[in-house]
């Protein structure tokens, strides 16, 4: 069937600059560039172009420009081009529309309506170039109080396992199989260098990466891929994945084409077979079942590791989170509406869940109201773009954040939303051995470390500006936030006052 969907992009080749070297042909994994052997000239199949810029970035003479196809429809505020084209795609395929990355709709980004404070006159700002400025964060369950011996010198309280983060930014769960081994190695090495954690995602941990275990969160998801005793013991934290912000309430599907020999070995499934993660964990149909799994994992790891539970931010997150803490979770992870994915049904990604800022504010407030906020650390993910977002998240009440998309962008991702195709031209979200070589773990680890280093410096500057020299003095400090352009209800949920008040 001939498709009615027009090409999304136009590839403009400057004939003055093009030297017919075919780099673009070799780089394009979507077959948008090809060499016409008859005419001995490089040509373009624009309908295949995804706008990933791989060809343009590597063209030695910068002969290529990628622009949006300027094809206009009759102006209509209800029927926009995407709505029309999605219908054509489904009329032609009869299936669900799949997509990658996070929600790209125009839902309000609350980070952009929150502003941070700074000290003037009555208290001094602190200069991080001249004074110590502390970002260290310990995640894990905290007791209500500390007991010391009568003489005041000996600690008599035994704390639950605490994990130190030098910077409150961790790398979010992205499974081996969804992303390549080189990506995993880049994340693991950067986390180790920067004193933070990376997360295996649900596809197990490749043998060669066990040495980074002290900086690894090992995930246990509904498919239980690659979960075994050695895996659990390798990690610093064990995370139970209940849900994901990009696709709350549904499972996952790693197509058999991505299950290479190494992926198969790590996931403990036959090579080439589809890896299906059920929508729920089939041993968790209720909160008391979660308790059982949390304590099964604590037993299995001899109470040496915090157990994290990750959920998608949904309407009643606050009540769910409270139940999770009472069920024994040491860390709560909330993944918001804009959280990304390697593959999800578009209708789910675009329509299910709530913005992370609101979920974070309501969960933090609820846990405090119930006096159990200290019993679990609160980590958020889904849509953190820069260190300003991190600082605002901490001020709203988060202990730390995860970054997924931002980490991949640091590696070269251009957010073209083709993760589900397995053809990532940047070699990130693919297991095609020809493509995965495009990520060099030496360079990847360096780029990721650099990003965190830069964010760390920026967060220190913001803290110093607010007149505090330790991150815990910003945590939950909503007085250092003001809202702009928000309704009274939004301000109330965020627990933030209007700018100027």
């Amino acid at each position: 069937m001939k498709t009615l969907v027009p090409p999304q992009f136009r590839v403009v080749r400057d004939p003055e600059r093009c030297i017919q070297c075919q780099v673009c042909v070799n780089q394009c994994s979507f077959n948008a560039q090809y060499f016409d052997a008859e005419d001995k000239v490089v040509r373009t199949r624009e309908e295949n172009c995804v706008g990933c810029h791989r060809c343009a970035a590597l063209c030695p003479t910068r002969a290529l420009t990628i622009t949006r196809n300027p094809m206009d429809y009759k102006a209509n505020l209800n029927w926009k081009s995407g709505d029309i084209e999605d219908i054509w795609r489904q009329a032609e395929s009869g299936g669900m529309l799949l997509t990658g990355m996070g929600n790209d709709k125009g839902y309000r980004i609350y980070w952009d309506h929150l502003l941070l404070n700074a000290s003037q006159v009555t208290n001094p700002s602190i200069d991080p170039l001249r004074e110590p400025m502390e970002l260290t964060t310990y995640i894990g369950r905290k007791p209500d109080r500390v007991h010391v011996s009568a003489d005041g010198v000996k600690l008599e309280t035994t704390l639950a396992p605490q994990v130190k983060l030098e910077i409150p930014v961790m790398f979010a769960a992205m499974s081996y199989g969804a992303v390549s081994l080189n990506v995993h190695e880049s994340l693991a090495r950067a986390a180790t260098e920067m004193g933070t954690l990376w997360n295996t995602g649900e596809g197990g941990l490749h043998e060669t990466l066990y040495k980074y275990g002290q900086n690894t969160i090992v995930q246990v998801a509904s498919g239980r891929f690659g979960v075994h005793s050695k895996y659990l013991h390798a990690g610093r934290v064990v995370e139970i994945k209940i849900g994901q912000g990009a696709k709350p309430g549904i499972g996952g599907h790693l197509p058999g084409e991505k299950v290479s020999a190494d992926v198969a070995l790590t996931r403990m499934i036959p090579r080439g077979s589809d890896a299906l993660s059920p929508a729920p964990q089939h041993d968790i149909y209720s909160i008391e079942d979660l308790t059982q799994l949390i304590y099964a994992l604590k037993e299995a790891t001899n109470y040496t590791k915090p157990i994290s539970v990750k959920i998608a931010a949904v309407h009643n997150s606050a009540a769910i989170a409270s139940g999770m803490v009472r069920a024994g979770a040491d860390i709560i992870v909330l993944d918001g509406l804009r959280g990304a994915t390697g593959a999800a049904p578009k209708v789910i990604r675009d329509n299910v869940g709530i913005p992370i800022e609101l979920a974070l504010a309501s969960v933090d407030s609820r846990l405090r109201q119930e006096g159990i906020r200290n019993q679990a650390s609160l980590v958020i993910s889904g849509g953190i773009r820069n260190s300003g977002d991190v600082a605002k998240a901490i001020a709203l009440g988060a202990d730390a954040v995860y970054i997924g998309t931002a980490a991949l962008v640091a590696l070269g991702c251009h957010v073209c939303q083709q993760c589900h195709t397995g053809k990532c031209a940047w070699g990130i979200c693919t297991t095609d051995l020809g493509l995965t070589r495009r990520i060099n773990p030496d360079i990847g680890a360096q780029r990721l470390s650099n990003l965190l280093r830069g964010w760390g410096l920026e967060i220190k500057d913001m803290l110093g500006g607010m007149g505090v020299n330790a991150l815990e003095s910003l945590r939950g400090n909503r007085l250092h936030l003001r809202g702009v352009g928000l309704s009274d209800t939004e301000l109330e949920i965020l627990g933030v006052r209007m700018a100027g008040s």
């Binding site: 000290s119 009555t122 208290n123 001094p124 602190i126 004074e131 110590p132 502390e134 260290t136 310990y138 905290k142 007791p143 109080r145 500390v146 007991h147 010391v148 005041g152 010198v153 000996k154 600690l155 309280t157 704390l159 605490q162 405090r368 006096g371 906020r373 200290n374 607010m466 007149g467 505090v468 020299n469 330790a470 815990e472 003095s473 910003l474 945590r475 939950g476 400090n477 909503r478 007085l479 250092h480 008040s501």
Partner: protein, 378 residues
């Protein structure tokens, strides 16, 4: 006085912002001395306050009534006094009461009425309730529910005197040169976002704990939410109130010694903790991990006092000044060395403590310079 915060903070800012002069003097031998020197010292730092608040706390003040709680209460009118006295009679046994002697003073305009009551809890208290908890509850009830009244001092054998004016004016008004005590703290206030209110001056007090404070807590929002989790209601929106509640929680409820309380309020840096010997390291680590929400961040110096103890503490990087002086059995704490030198020119020791390092004077114990401060990191 209903809705205290409205009076204290009419602009509904997040909190009251002020800066100040502070002074403390203690004779660790327990010998009482007159307030003349302390008044002279605090008035030497006149320019550090702006006339919108001054106050004093005196310990060993009422030896004749040492076993009874001493209430200092300010009234805006006689009706408030009658209502409050009915409440006191219903809930306590009043051993003695009298008007607090004052004298007309230039610069002191329209002061409230001041009365003091020496009271016994007697049989009014439920048996399962501790005396202190009962007393705190009743003081909070008076302050929150009866109009035009404020209980600003409620400890045993001590008292707070404070109001709107320069500290030397407040001293003259309350005739403080006629009192004696073994421990005095004093405060001159420079608020920037609030008009003067008699109850809003320092020292801030609950039971026999008093706090005088120079500074602004930039971590106020975090500290306040942390204390709210423990059931404290921060009604006055002053960061000094946060300090008082933090002390109550850590000292009275969690039984931590003052040396460790100082390490919660102004903790050592993580890097310094890592360099501590085993044992001490785990203790400091646990304190900071568990009580991170009570870290007081931003510029401050406090002088905290209660029966038999005076503590000086600055923030971790000492953004507000504190000078310590020692002479014989006298310990002085001051915003400026000049104030100490004015009343005790030849000091045995004088120094500026490290940021976050508490200076503690205790009755019957050697002065701080004669011992390695317990809990000291260096």
């Amino acid at each position: 006085m209903k809705e205290l915060w409205k009076i204290n903070n009419p602009h509904n800012d997040d909190k009251v912002i002020d800066a100040c002069s502070i002074f403390g003097a203690m004779d660790v031998s327990g010998k009482a001395f007159s307030g003349t020197g302390v008044i002279k010292a605090i008035s030497n730092m006149h320019d550090r306050s702006n006339g919108l608040g001054g106050g004093f706390a005196v310990y060993g003040l009422y030896p004749d009534y040492a076993e009874h709680y001493a209430f200092h209460i300010m009234y805006l009118n006689e009706a408030a006094r009658h209502e409050t006295e009915r409440f006191l009679k219903d809930n306590f046994y009043i051993v003695h009461d009298e008007i607090v002697p004052t004298k007309p003073t230039t610069g002191i305009i329209n002061p409230p009425l001041f009365w003091r009551y020496f009271i016994d809890i007697g049989k009014h208290k439920p048996t399962e309730m501790a005396d202190d908890d009962y007393l705190v509850d009743k003081v909070m009830t008076i302050n929150a529910t009866i109009e035009d009244v404020f209980v600003f001092s409620s400890g045993k054998n001590m008292g707070v005197f404070k109001g709107v004016g320069y500290p030397e004016q407040i001293a003259e008004f309350f005739r403080l040169d006629e009192y004696e005590g073994y421990l005095w703290t004093a405060h001159g206030r420079f608020p920037t976002n609030t008009p003067g209110w008699w109850g809003g001056a320092h020292p801030f007090s609950i039971l026999d704990w008093t706090v005088v404070h120079n500074g602004e807590i930039s971590s106020y929002g975090t500290n306040r939410r942390c204390l709210e989790e423990f059931g404290y209601k921060c009604t006055m929106q002053t960061d000094t109130e946060v300090v008082a509640y933090a002390l109550d929680l850590l000292v009275r409820k969690h039984n931590l010694p003052m040396e460790l309380v100082a390490k919660v309020l102004a903790p050592p840096f993580w890097n310094d903790i890592n360099r501590l010997p085993p044992g001490k390291k785990e203790l400091m680590l646990a304190l900071r991990q568990v009580y991170g929400g009570l870290l007081l961040n931003g510029p401050f110096t406090f002088i905290i006092a209660h029966e038999g103890e005076m503590i000086g503490l600055t923030d971790r990087i000492r953004l507000r000044p504190l000078t310590v002086g020692e002479k014989g059995t006298m310990l002085y704490l001051s915003s400026e060395e000049s104030a100490i030198r004015l009343i005790s020119p030849e000091l045995d020791n004088v120094w500026t403590p490290m940021g976050g390092e508490p200076v503690i004077g205790r009755l019957g114990k050697p002065l701080p310079s004669h011992k390695e401060p317990a809990g000291a990191l260096r």
